[in-house]
């Protein structure tokens, strides 16, 4: 039976499924460093209480989680493990990168021989939450943005089609690409910052 693209049945199912997915984002307990403490603070501490959004069921096993909150620096040795964790999660899965280390390497950007400069080099990211570490409120804003994205974004007819990642604390129109372009331009423009050697797996240069 052929169902039309925008039939009433499918859109209603879409709405229901997206509503349920948005409101029950079970995070995977995955924290590597300081951001993990703020994530714990947000997800569990009595004052902030992520349970209000239905996201307090922190699953230790990636098989049961929907949301991978990457909290803390990812180094080369951990990168493969992060990717594996992501692959172990069942679809639909969402990734939130919290903190400047996961976004771009943060304070460990220069002169570090291990830090991965942005986890978007390893796995696709849905929401970036800046901060070092981000406050719990920042994490909530990221979660709400993700909820909005899920509610608007996906459809049963086209699973896996996703909006572009957004920076949670920036205007919603801003995408990662814009920011990367800006950073690249800044690096070229500012003459006092010279980098010796360009890492082969930095992709932003090619994009810019």
């Amino acid at each position: 039976m052929a169902v039309e693209e925008n039939s009433f049945l499918l859109t209603t199912v879409d709405a229901l499924v997206n509503w349920s997915r948005a409101n029950s984002l079970w995070p995977l307990a995955f924290g590597t460093s300081c951001c993990a403490i703020e994530m714990m603070m947000a997800s569990t501490a009595a004052r902030h209480d992520i349970a209000r959004f239905g996201a307090e069921v922190v699953r230790p096993s990636p098989r049961q989680a929907d949301l991978l909150i990457v909290a803390g620096t990812i180094v080369k040795r951990m990168a493969s493990r992060l990717k594996r964790l992501y692959e172990q999660m069942p679809e639909p899965r969402y990734v939130m990168a919290t903190g400047s280390c996961t976004i771009a390497g943060g304070p460990f950007y220069y002169n570090s021989y291990t830090t991965v400069r942005g986890i978007d080099e390893i796995i696709p990211v849905d929401v970036f939450v800046p901060g070092c570490p981000p406050r719990p409120e920042g994490l909530f804003y990221g979660l709400l943005v993700l909820q909005r994205m899920i509610k608007e974004g996906e459809s049963v007819a086209q699973p896996g089609v996703r909006r572009k990642p957004v920076m949670a604390a920036l205007p919603p129109a801003m995408t990662l690409k814009d920011i990367q372009k800006e950073i690249a331009a800044l690096l070229v423009e500012r003459s006092e910052v010279k980098t010796r050697g360009v890492s082969p797996n930095r992709i932003w240069e090619e994009r810019a």
Binding site: K76, R77, Y109, Y113, K194, T195, R196, P200
Partner: protein, 157 residues
């Protein structure tokens, strides 16, 4: 140097006359020739009047210009309530040192860390592997001449 430190130093010198005071340190520090290191260390721990039973820390410093590695051991004695810094220098071309892991078990891992980051080979070490980096890592990153395109070195002018 305080009076107590002077007595400790004389005690050490009585066992090994080649020990000299290390002037390049802000705290009480002695310098030992590398071949005498294990002997002096054993004396520092086992001697009843000294009893430096705790190895707080072990690190290496890369003196590229002088072609030397400086190994630094921080010891602590409960009996004297005193910290002492023991340093030794080994040539950069042949970075071999004697392991003190028989004296203090924790040295096994501290030496692994130094091996990992500086590439100093410890003789008689039970299990000399990399500690922080992957086993197939090339080079020793904390050496001054380490180069890695991944590192994005910030050049200051």
């Amino acid at each position: 140097m305080s009076e107590r430190e002077a007595t400790i130093f004389s005690l050490i010198q009585s066992c090994c006359s080649e020990v000299i005071l290390n002037e390049g340190s802000g705290s009480f520090s002695i310098q030992v020739p590398s071949e005498k290191l294990v002997f002096v260390m054993e004396h520092l721990k086992k001697s009843e009047s000294l009893a430096f039973v705790m190895l707080l820390d072990h690190l290496a410093v890369d003196w590229k210009e002088m072609g030397e590695f400086e190994l630094v051991y921080q010891l602590y004695s409960f009996k004297l309530d005193q910290r002492i810094e023991v340093t030794t220098k080994i040539p950069r071309a042949i970075p071999n040192a004697h392991s003190v892991s028989r004296i203090w078990p924790i040295a096994e891992w501290q030496e692994r860390e130094v091996y990992d980051l500086f590439g100093i080979y410890y003789i008689n070490h039970p299990d000399l592997r990399r500690l922080f980096l992957e086993d197939d890592w090339k080079g020793f990153p904390l050496r001054k001449d380490y180069e890695d395109p991944f590192m994005l070195e910030l050049v200051k002018e």
